[in-house]
Symmetry: C2
Subunit: 228 residues, 2 copies
Protein backbone atom coordinates (compact mmCIF):
# COMPACT_ATOMS: atom_id res chain seq x y z
CA UNK A 1 0.00 0.00 0.00
CA UNK A 2 1.35 3.42 -0.94
CA UNK A 3 1.90 5.71 1.99
CA UNK A 4 0.31 8.60 0.11
CA UNK A 5 -3.39 8.16 -0.58
CA UNK A 6 -4.19 9.34 -4.10
CA UNK A 7 -5.88 12.73 -3.98
CA UNK A 8 -9.63 12.60 -4.18
CA UNK A 9 -9.69 14.64 -7.39
CA UNK A 10 -7.62 12.00 -9.17
CA UNK A 11 -9.92 9.21 -8.04
CA UNK A 12 -12.78 11.31 -9.38
CA UNK A 13 -10.93 11.96 -12.65
CA UNK A 14 -10.51 8.20 -13.08
CA UNK A 15 -14.26 7.72 -12.67
CA UNK A 16 -14.91 10.36 -15.32
CA UNK A 17 -12.30 8.75 -17.57
CA UNK A 18 -13.83 5.29 -17.17
CA UNK A 19 -17.16 6.68 -18.41
CA UNK A 20 -15.75 8.61 -21.36
CA UNK A 21 -16.87 7.60 -24.83
CA UNK A 22 -15.99 8.31 -28.41
CA UNK A 23 -18.68 6.14 -30.01
CA UNK A 24 -20.95 9.18 -30.13
CA UNK A 25 -19.64 12.57 -31.16
CA UNK A 26 -21.30 15.87 -31.90
CA UNK A 27 -20.62 18.24 -34.76
CA UNK A 28 -21.72 21.87 -34.62
CA UNK A 29 -21.66 23.67 -37.93
CA UNK A 30 -21.53 27.41 -37.90
CA UNK A 31 -23.51 27.87 -34.70
CA UNK A 32 -24.09 31.57 -34.20
CA UNK A 33 -24.90 31.97 -30.54
CA UNK A 34 -21.91 31.50 -28.20
CA UNK A 35 -24.39 30.73 -25.42
CA UNK A 36 -25.59 27.76 -27.43
CA UNK A 37 -22.13 26.40 -28.15
CA UNK A 38 -21.12 26.84 -24.53
CA UNK A 39 -24.23 25.00 -23.38
CA UNK A 40 -23.57 22.14 -25.80
CA UNK A 41 -20.02 21.70 -24.51
CA UNK A 42 -21.27 21.62 -20.95
CA UNK A 43 -23.87 18.98 -21.80
CA UNK A 44 -21.40 16.81 -23.73
CA UNK A 45 -18.90 16.93 -20.90
CA UNK A 46 -21.56 16.10 -18.32
CA UNK A 47 -22.67 13.00 -20.23
CA UNK A 48 -19.21 11.71 -21.08
CA UNK A 49 -18.98 12.61 -24.77
CA UNK A 50 -15.25 13.26 -25.20
CA UNK A 51 -15.05 14.71 -28.72
CA UNK A 52 -16.89 17.72 -30.08
CA UNK A 53 -16.29 18.96 -33.60
CA UNK A 54 -16.80 22.61 -34.40
CA UNK A 55 -17.02 23.64 -38.04
CA UNK A 56 -16.46 27.36 -38.23
CA UNK A 57 -17.34 27.96 -41.86
CA UNK A 58 -17.54 31.61 -42.78
CA UNK A 59 -17.67 32.92 -39.27
CA UNK A 60 -14.94 33.02 -36.70
CA UNK A 61 -15.37 30.55 -33.85
CA UNK A 62 -17.38 32.39 -31.22
CA UNK A 63 -16.04 32.90 -27.74
CA UNK A 64 -17.16 30.44 -25.16
CA UNK A 65 -19.14 31.75 -22.24
CA UNK A 66 -17.39 30.57 -19.06
CA UNK A 67 -20.54 31.18 -17.00
CA UNK A 68 -22.27 28.61 -19.19
CA UNK A 69 -19.51 26.10 -19.90
CA UNK A 70 -18.31 26.03 -16.28
CA UNK A 71 -14.93 25.10 -17.74
CA UNK A 72 -16.27 22.00 -19.51
CA UNK A 73 -13.95 22.66 -22.45
CA UNK A 74 -10.94 21.83 -20.24
CA UNK A 75 -12.03 18.17 -20.20
CA UNK A 76 -13.13 17.81 -23.80
CA UNK A 77 -11.26 17.18 -27.01
CA UNK A 78 -12.38 19.98 -29.31
CA UNK A 79 -11.77 19.57 -33.02
CA UNK A 80 -11.87 22.70 -35.12
CA UNK A 81 -12.50 22.40 -38.85
CA UNK A 82 -12.40 25.20 -41.38
CA UNK A 83 -15.20 23.83 -43.48
CA UNK A 84 -17.62 20.93 -43.90
CA UNK A 85 -15.49 19.13 -46.48
CA UNK A 86 -12.47 18.80 -44.20
CA UNK A 87 -14.69 17.92 -41.23
CA UNK A 88 -16.37 15.17 -43.23
CA UNK A 89 -13.01 13.75 -44.28
CA UNK A 90 -11.73 13.80 -40.70
CA UNK A 91 -14.84 12.08 -39.33
CA UNK A 92 -14.84 9.43 -42.06
CA UNK A 93 -11.15 8.76 -41.37
CA UNK A 94 -12.10 8.14 -37.75
CA UNK A 95 -14.80 5.67 -38.81
CA UNK A 96 -17.85 7.73 -37.99
CA UNK A 97 -21.22 7.25 -39.59
CA UNK A 98 -22.60 10.70 -40.40
CA UNK A 99 -26.06 11.42 -39.01
CA UNK A 100 -27.11 14.84 -40.13
CA UNK A 101 -29.90 16.78 -38.46
CA UNK A 102 -32.45 18.13 -40.91
CA UNK A 103 -36.02 19.35 -40.54
CA UNK A 104 -37.34 17.38 -43.49
CA UNK A 105 -40.38 15.17 -43.87
CA UNK A 106 -38.25 12.21 -44.92
CA UNK A 107 -35.67 12.48 -42.15
CA UNK A 108 -35.62 9.63 -39.62
CA UNK A 109 -36.76 10.26 -36.05
CA UNK A 110 -33.69 10.34 -33.82
CA UNK A 111 -34.90 7.49 -31.61
CA UNK A 112 -35.29 5.21 -34.64
CA UNK A 113 -31.62 5.50 -35.58
CA UNK A 114 -29.49 2.63 -34.28
CA UNK A 115 -27.72 3.51 -31.04
CA UNK A 116 -24.94 0.96 -31.02
CA UNK A 117 -22.91 2.36 -33.89
CA UNK A 118 -20.06 4.80 -34.04
CA UNK A 119 -21.77 7.94 -35.26
CA UNK A 120 -21.33 11.68 -35.49
CA UNK A 121 -24.48 13.78 -35.08
CA UNK A 122 -24.32 16.96 -37.08
CA UNK A 123 -26.31 19.97 -35.94
CA UNK A 124 -26.53 22.95 -38.25
CA UNK A 125 -26.73 26.66 -37.87
CA UNK A 126 -29.65 28.09 -35.86
CA UNK A 127 -31.17 29.77 -38.90
CA UNK A 128 -30.17 27.90 -42.00
CA UNK A 129 -29.48 24.37 -40.74
CA UNK A 130 -26.66 22.24 -42.11
CA UNK A 131 -24.89 23.07 -45.35
CA UNK A 132 -25.32 21.10 -48.55
CA UNK A 133 -22.05 19.19 -48.16
CA UNK A 134 -23.36 17.42 -45.06
CA UNK A 135 -26.60 16.41 -46.72
CA UNK A 136 -24.67 15.00 -49.68
CA UNK A 137 -22.36 13.04 -47.39
CA UNK A 138 -25.01 11.91 -44.88
CA UNK A 139 -25.37 8.23 -44.04
CA UNK A 140 -28.64 9.18 -42.35
CA UNK A 141 -30.66 12.33 -41.81
CA UNK A 142 -32.49 12.69 -38.52
CA UNK A 143 -34.97 14.99 -36.83
CA UNK A 144 -36.41 15.19 -33.37
CA UNK A 145 -40.16 14.85 -33.84
CA UNK A 146 -42.34 17.45 -32.17
CA UNK A 147 -46.08 17.87 -31.94
CA UNK A 148 -46.61 21.55 -31.14
CA UNK A 149 -46.92 24.77 -33.07
CA UNK A 150 -43.25 25.35 -32.35
CA UNK A 151 -41.47 23.18 -34.88
CA UNK A 152 -37.88 24.01 -34.17
CA UNK A 153 -35.97 23.41 -30.97
CA UNK A 154 -33.33 25.64 -29.50
CA UNK A 155 -29.92 24.45 -30.72
CA UNK A 156 -28.55 23.68 -27.27
CA UNK A 157 -31.77 21.82 -26.46
CA UNK A 158 -31.63 19.77 -29.67
CA UNK A 159 -28.00 18.85 -29.00
CA UNK A 160 -28.81 17.85 -25.42
CA UNK A 161 -31.63 15.60 -26.59
CA UNK A 162 -29.30 13.91 -29.06
CA UNK A 163 -26.74 13.28 -26.34
CA UNK A 164 -29.36 12.05 -23.86
CA UNK A 165 -31.00 9.78 -26.42
CA UNK A 166 -27.69 8.27 -27.48
CA UNK A 167 -26.06 7.98 -24.05
CA UNK A 168 -28.81 7.53 -21.47
CA UNK A 169 -31.61 5.93 -23.45
CA UNK A 170 -29.14 3.56 -25.08
CA UNK A 171 -27.98 2.28 -21.75
CA UNK A 172 -31.44 2.65 -20.20
CA UNK A 173 -29.35 3.47 -17.21
CA UNK A 174 -26.87 6.01 -15.98
CA UNK A 175 -24.06 6.96 -18.29
CA UNK A 176 -20.95 5.29 -17.07
CA UNK A 177 -19.60 2.73 -19.50
CA UNK A 178 -16.88 4.33 -21.51
CA UNK A 179 -15.21 3.00 -24.61
CA UNK A 180 -11.76 4.60 -24.64
CA UNK A 181 -8.71 2.43 -25.28
CA UNK A 182 -5.99 2.40 -22.64
CA UNK A 183 -3.73 4.57 -24.79
CA UNK A 184 -6.50 7.12 -25.22
CA UNK A 185 -7.12 7.12 -21.50
CA UNK A 186 -3.41 7.57 -20.80
CA UNK A 187 -3.24 10.62 -23.04
CA UNK A 188 -6.27 12.25 -21.44
CA UNK A 189 -5.04 11.33 -17.96
CA UNK A 190 -1.78 13.17 -18.53
CA UNK A 191 -3.63 16.28 -19.66
CA UNK A 192 -6.32 16.14 -16.98
CA UNK A 193 -3.92 15.54 -14.11
CA UNK A 194 -1.94 18.56 -15.24
CA UNK A 195 -5.12 20.64 -15.33
CA UNK A 196 -6.14 19.36 -11.92
CA UNK A 197 -2.84 20.57 -10.46
CA UNK A 198 -4.14 24.09 -11.04
CA UNK A 199 -0.69 25.49 -11.85
CA UNK A 200 1.08 24.22 -8.75
CA UNK A 201 4.51 22.84 -9.68
CA UNK A 202 4.54 20.50 -6.67
CA UNK A 203 1.09 19.10 -7.46
CA UNK A 204 1.97 18.78 -11.13
CA UNK A 205 4.94 16.59 -10.20
CA UNK A 206 2.98 14.58 -7.64
CA UNK A 207 0.08 14.01 -10.02
CA UNK A 208 2.44 13.02 -12.83
CA UNK A 209 3.81 10.37 -10.50
CA UNK A 210 0.29 9.14 -9.74
CA UNK A 211 -0.40 9.00 -13.46
CA UNK A 212 2.17 6.19 -13.74
CA UNK A 213 0.06 4.12 -11.36
CA UNK A 214 -3.36 5.72 -11.43
CA UNK A 215 -5.85 5.14 -8.62
CA UNK A 216 -8.92 2.98 -9.18
CA UNK A 217 -11.96 4.97 -10.23
CA UNK A 218 -14.49 5.34 -7.47
CA UNK A 219 -18.14 6.27 -7.78
CA UNK A 220 -18.51 9.97 -7.50
CA UNK A 221 -21.48 12.22 -7.19
CA UNK A 222 -22.36 15.14 -9.47
CA UNK A 223 -22.42 17.73 -6.74
CA UNK A 224 -18.90 16.78 -5.77
CA UNK A 225 -17.64 16.57 -9.31
CA UNK A 226 -18.63 20.14 -10.06
CA UNK A 227 -16.25 21.32 -7.36
CA UNK A 228 -13.07 20.21 -9.10
CA UNK B 1 -69.64 18.78 -47.37
CA UNK B 2 -69.08 22.38 -46.39
CA UNK B 3 -68.42 24.68 -49.27
CA UNK B 4 -65.65 26.43 -47.41
CA UNK B 5 -62.58 24.28 -46.81
CA UNK B 6 -61.31 24.79 -43.28
CA UNK B 7 -58.21 26.96 -43.31
CA UNK B 8 -54.97 25.05 -43.15
CA UNK B 9 -53.95 26.68 -39.89
CA UNK B 10 -57.04 25.28 -38.17
CA UNK B 11 -56.35 21.77 -39.42
CA UNK B 12 -52.86 22.19 -38.06
CA UNK B 13 -54.19 23.50 -34.75
CA UNK B 14 -56.36 20.41 -34.44
CA UNK B 15 -53.30 18.19 -34.93
CA UNK B 16 -51.49 20.08 -32.19
CA UNK B 17 -54.57 19.84 -29.97
CA UNK B 18 -54.88 16.09 -30.52
CA UNK B 19 -51.30 15.66 -29.29
CA UNK B 20 -51.64 17.89 -26.23
CA UNK B 21 -51.18 16.33 -22.82
CA UNK B 22 -51.64 17.23 -19.20
CA UNK B 23 -50.34 13.98 -17.72
CA UNK B 24 -46.89 15.53 -17.52
CA UNK B 25 -46.43 19.09 -16.34
CA UNK B 26 -43.39 21.15 -15.47
CA UNK B 27 -42.88 23.45 -12.51
CA UNK B 28 -40.17 26.09 -12.50
CA UNK B 29 -39.39 27.58 -9.14
CA UNK B 30 -37.72 30.93 -9.00
CA UNK B 31 -35.73 30.51 -12.19
CA UNK B 32 -33.44 33.49 -12.55
CA UNK B 33 -32.51 33.61 -16.20
CA UNK B 34 -35.33 34.72 -18.54
CA UNK B 35 -33.49 32.98 -21.38
CA UNK B 36 -33.87 29.71 -19.48
CA UNK B 37 -37.58 30.15 -18.79
CA UNK B 38 -38.21 31.16 -22.38
CA UNK B 39 -36.36 28.11 -23.65
CA UNK B 40 -38.32 25.82 -21.33
CA UNK B 41 -41.64 27.20 -22.60
CA UNK B 42 -40.56 26.68 -26.18
CA UNK B 43 -39.55 23.08 -25.46
CA UNK B 44 -42.76 22.27 -23.60
CA UNK B 45 -44.87 23.69 -26.40
CA UNK B 46 -42.92 21.81 -29.04
CA UNK B 47 -43.44 18.47 -27.27
CA UNK B 48 -47.10 18.96 -26.43
CA UNK B 49 -46.92 19.71 -22.70
CA UNK B 50 -49.89 22.06 -22.20
CA UNK B 51 -49.39 23.28 -18.62
CA UNK B 52 -46.36 24.98 -17.18
CA UNK B 53 -46.31 26.20 -13.60
CA UNK B 54 -44.13 29.12 -12.65
CA UNK B 55 -43.49 29.78 -8.98
CA UNK B 56 -42.18 33.27 -8.60
CA UNK B 57 -41.16 33.24 -4.96
CA UNK B 58 -39.25 36.29 -3.87
CA UNK B 59 -38.44 37.52 -7.32
CA UNK B 60 -40.76 39.06 -9.85
CA UNK B 61 -41.54 36.83 -12.81
CA UNK B 62 -38.88 37.55 -15.40
CA UNK B 63 -39.77 38.78 -18.83
CA UNK B 64 -39.95 36.20 -21.53
CA UNK B 65 -37.57 36.53 -24.43
CA UNK B 66 -39.64 36.47 -27.64
CA UNK B 67 -36.57 35.59 -29.70
CA UNK B 68 -36.30 32.42 -27.66
CA UNK B 69 -39.93 31.49 -27.02
CA UNK B 70 -40.99 32.16 -30.62
CA UNK B 71 -44.42 32.91 -29.17
CA UNK B 72 -44.74 29.47 -27.54
CA UNK B 73 -46.49 31.04 -24.54
CA UNK B 74 -49.51 31.84 -26.75
CA UNK B 75 -50.29 28.12 -26.95
CA UNK B 76 -49.54 27.12 -23.38
CA UNK B 77 -51.52 27.34 -20.19
CA UNK B 78 -49.22 29.14 -17.80
CA UNK B 79 -49.99 28.93 -14.10
CA UNK B 80 -48.42 31.54 -11.86
CA UNK B 81 -48.05 30.83 -8.17
CA UNK B 82 -46.83 33.22 -5.51
CA UNK B 83 -45.04 30.58 -3.49
CA UNK B 84 -44.32 26.86 -3.23
CA UNK B 85 -47.08 26.20 -0.71
CA UNK B 86 -49.86 27.45 -2.97
CA UNK B 87 -48.31 25.75 -6.00
CA UNK B 88 -48.17 22.43 -4.13
CA UNK B 89 -51.82 22.77 -3.10
CA UNK B 90 -52.88 23.58 -6.66
CA UNK B 91 -50.96 20.63 -8.13
CA UNK B 92 -52.26 18.20 -5.50
CA UNK B 93 -55.80 19.41 -6.19
CA UNK B 94 -55.22 18.54 -9.85
CA UNK B 95 -54.06 15.06 -8.92
CA UNK B 96 -50.37 15.43 -9.68
CA UNK B 97 -47.67 13.32 -8.13
CA UNK B 98 -44.82 15.66 -7.20
CA UNK B 99 -41.42 14.68 -8.61
CA UNK B 100 -38.87 17.13 -7.36
CA UNK B 101 -35.47 17.55 -8.98
CA UNK B 102 -32.61 17.41 -6.51
CA UNK B 103 -28.89 16.80 -6.86
CA UNK B 104 -28.73 14.32 -4.00
CA UNK B 105 -27.13 10.89 -3.73
CA UNK B 106 -30.43 9.28 -2.78
CA UNK B 107 -32.53 10.87 -5.53
CA UNK B 108 -33.92 8.51 -8.18
CA UNK B 109 -32.56 8.65 -11.73
CA UNK B 110 -35.20 10.29 -13.91
CA UNK B 111 -35.49 7.29 -16.26
CA UNK B 112 -36.27 4.99 -13.32
CA UNK B 113 -39.37 6.96 -12.34
CA UNK B 114 -42.61 5.53 -13.74
CA UNK B 115 -43.70 7.27 -16.92
CA UNK B 116 -47.36 6.40 -17.00
CA UNK B 117 -48.48 8.47 -14.07
CA UNK B 118 -49.81 11.97 -13.77
CA UNK B 119 -46.81 13.84 -12.45
CA UNK B 120 -45.41 17.32 -12.06
CA UNK B 121 -41.65 17.67 -12.43
CA UNK B 122 -40.28 20.46 -10.29
CA UNK B 123 -37.08 22.18 -11.32
CA UNK B 124 -35.48 24.60 -8.89
CA UNK B 125 -33.52 27.75 -9.12
CA UNK B 126 -30.26 27.69 -11.09
CA UNK B 127 -28.14 28.31 -8.00
CA UNK B 128 -29.96 27.03 -4.97
CA UNK B 129 -32.23 24.32 -6.37
CA UNK B 130 -35.73 23.75 -5.06
CA UNK B 131 -36.93 25.19 -1.78
CA UNK B 132 -37.52 23.12 1.34
CA UNK B 133 -41.31 23.04 0.90
CA UNK B 134 -40.98 20.98 -2.29
CA UNK B 135 -38.63 18.47 -0.70
CA UNK B 136 -41.03 18.05 2.22
CA UNK B 137 -43.98 17.54 -0.14
CA UNK B 138 -42.17 15.38 -2.72
CA UNK B 139 -43.61 12.01 -3.70
CA UNK B 140 -40.28 11.34 -5.40
CA UNK B 141 -36.99 13.14 -5.82
CA UNK B 142 -35.17 12.73 -9.11
CA UNK B 143 -31.89 13.61 -10.73
CA UNK B 144 -30.49 13.24 -14.21
CA UNK B 145 -27.37 11.11 -13.78
CA UNK B 146 -24.21 12.42 -15.36
CA UNK B 147 -20.70 11.02 -15.61
CA UNK B 148 -18.48 14.03 -16.27
CA UNK B 149 -16.68 16.61 -14.20
CA UNK B 150 -19.61 18.91 -14.84
CA UNK B 151 -22.24 17.75 -12.41
CA UNK B 152 -24.98 20.25 -13.05
CA UNK B 153 -26.90 20.75 -16.26
CA UNK B 154 -28.14 24.05 -17.60
CA UNK B 155 -31.71 24.59 -16.40
CA UNK B 156 -33.23 24.71 -19.86
CA UNK B 157 -31.31 21.56 -20.79
CA UNK B 158 -32.44 19.71 -17.66
CA UNK B 159 -36.06 20.68 -18.34
CA UNK B 160 -35.80 19.56 -21.95
CA UNK B 161 -34.41 16.18 -20.91
CA UNK B 162 -37.29 15.72 -18.48
CA UNK B 163 -39.81 16.52 -21.21
CA UNK B 164 -38.07 14.27 -23.76
CA UNK B 165 -37.75 11.40 -21.31
CA UNK B 166 -41.38 11.62 -20.27
CA UNK B 167 -42.92 12.29 -23.69
CA UNK B 168 -40.69 10.68 -26.32
CA UNK B 169 -39.03 7.85 -24.45
CA UNK B 170 -42.36 6.91 -22.87
CA UNK B 171 -43.95 6.47 -26.24
CA UNK B 172 -40.72 5.18 -27.82
CA UNK B 173 -42.13 7.03 -30.77
CA UNK B 174 -43.09 10.50 -31.85
CA UNK B 175 -45.12 12.60 -29.47
CA UNK B 176 -48.64 12.66 -30.72
CA UNK B 177 -51.06 10.98 -28.37
CA UNK B 178 -52.70 13.60 -26.27
CA UNK B 179 -54.83 13.10 -23.20
CA UNK B 180 -57.10 16.15 -23.06
CA UNK B 181 -60.82 15.68 -22.46
CA UNK B 182 -63.20 17.08 -25.07
CA UNK B 183 -64.17 19.97 -22.81
CA UNK B 184 -60.52 20.86 -22.31
CA UNK B 185 -59.94 20.71 -26.04
CA UNK B 186 -62.96 22.92 -26.68
CA UNK B 187 -61.68 25.58 -24.30
CA UNK B 188 -58.23 25.61 -25.87
CA UNK B 189 -59.71 25.53 -29.36
CA UNK B 190 -61.70 28.70 -28.69
CA UNK B 191 -58.61 30.50 -27.45
CA UNK B 192 -56.29 29.19 -30.16
CA UNK B 193 -58.66 29.93 -33.03
CA UNK B 194 -58.95 33.49 -31.76
CA UNK B 195 -55.16 33.79 -31.63
CA UNK B 196 -54.87 32.32 -35.10
CA UNK B 197 -57.17 35.02 -36.47
CA UNK B 198 -54.34 37.48 -35.75
CA UNK B 199 -56.74 40.29 -34.83
CA UNK B 200 -58.87 40.17 -37.97
CA UNK B 201 -62.55 40.56 -37.04
CA UNK B 202 -63.65 38.66 -40.14
CA UNK B 203 -61.31 35.74 -39.45
CA UNK B 204 -62.26 35.72 -35.79
CA UNK B 205 -65.92 35.28 -36.78
CA UNK B 206 -65.13 32.68 -39.43
CA UNK B 207 -62.87 30.67 -37.13
CA UNK B 208 -65.43 30.83 -34.32
CA UNK B 209 -67.90 29.25 -36.74
CA UNK B 210 -65.38 26.52 -37.59
CA UNK B 211 -64.87 25.90 -33.88
CA UNK B 212 -68.46 24.65 -33.69
CA UNK B 213 -67.57 21.93 -36.19
CA UNK B 214 -63.80 21.69 -36.10
CA UNK B 215 -61.87 20.12 -38.97
CA UNK B 216 -60.22 16.75 -38.56
CA UNK B 217 -56.61 16.99 -37.46
CA UNK B 218 -54.16 16.23 -40.23
CA UNK B 219 -50.53 15.29 -39.91
CA UNK B 220 -48.42 18.38 -40.04
CA UNK B 221 -44.75 18.93 -40.27
CA UNK B 222 -42.60 20.95 -37.87
CA UNK B 223 -41.28 23.33 -40.48
CA UNK B 224 -44.82 24.23 -41.46
CA UNK B 225 -46.08 24.48 -37.93
CA UNK B 226 -43.54 27.13 -37.01
CA UNK B 227 -45.02 29.43 -39.62
CA UNK B 228 -48.39 29.86 -37.95
Amino acid sequence: MRPDQPPRRLIRAEAVLAARQRQTTLVLENAIDPHNISAVLRTCEAFGIQDVHVVAGDTAPPDLNPAVTLGAERWLTLHHHDDAVSAIAALRARGYRLCVGQLATDATPLFDLPRDVRAAYVIGNERTGVSRAWLDAADARFLIPTSGFTGSLNLSVAAALVVYDRVCVRAATAPGTGDLADTEKAALRTAWYRTLAHGSAALTRAFAAHAQDPPAPAPTFPVDRSKT
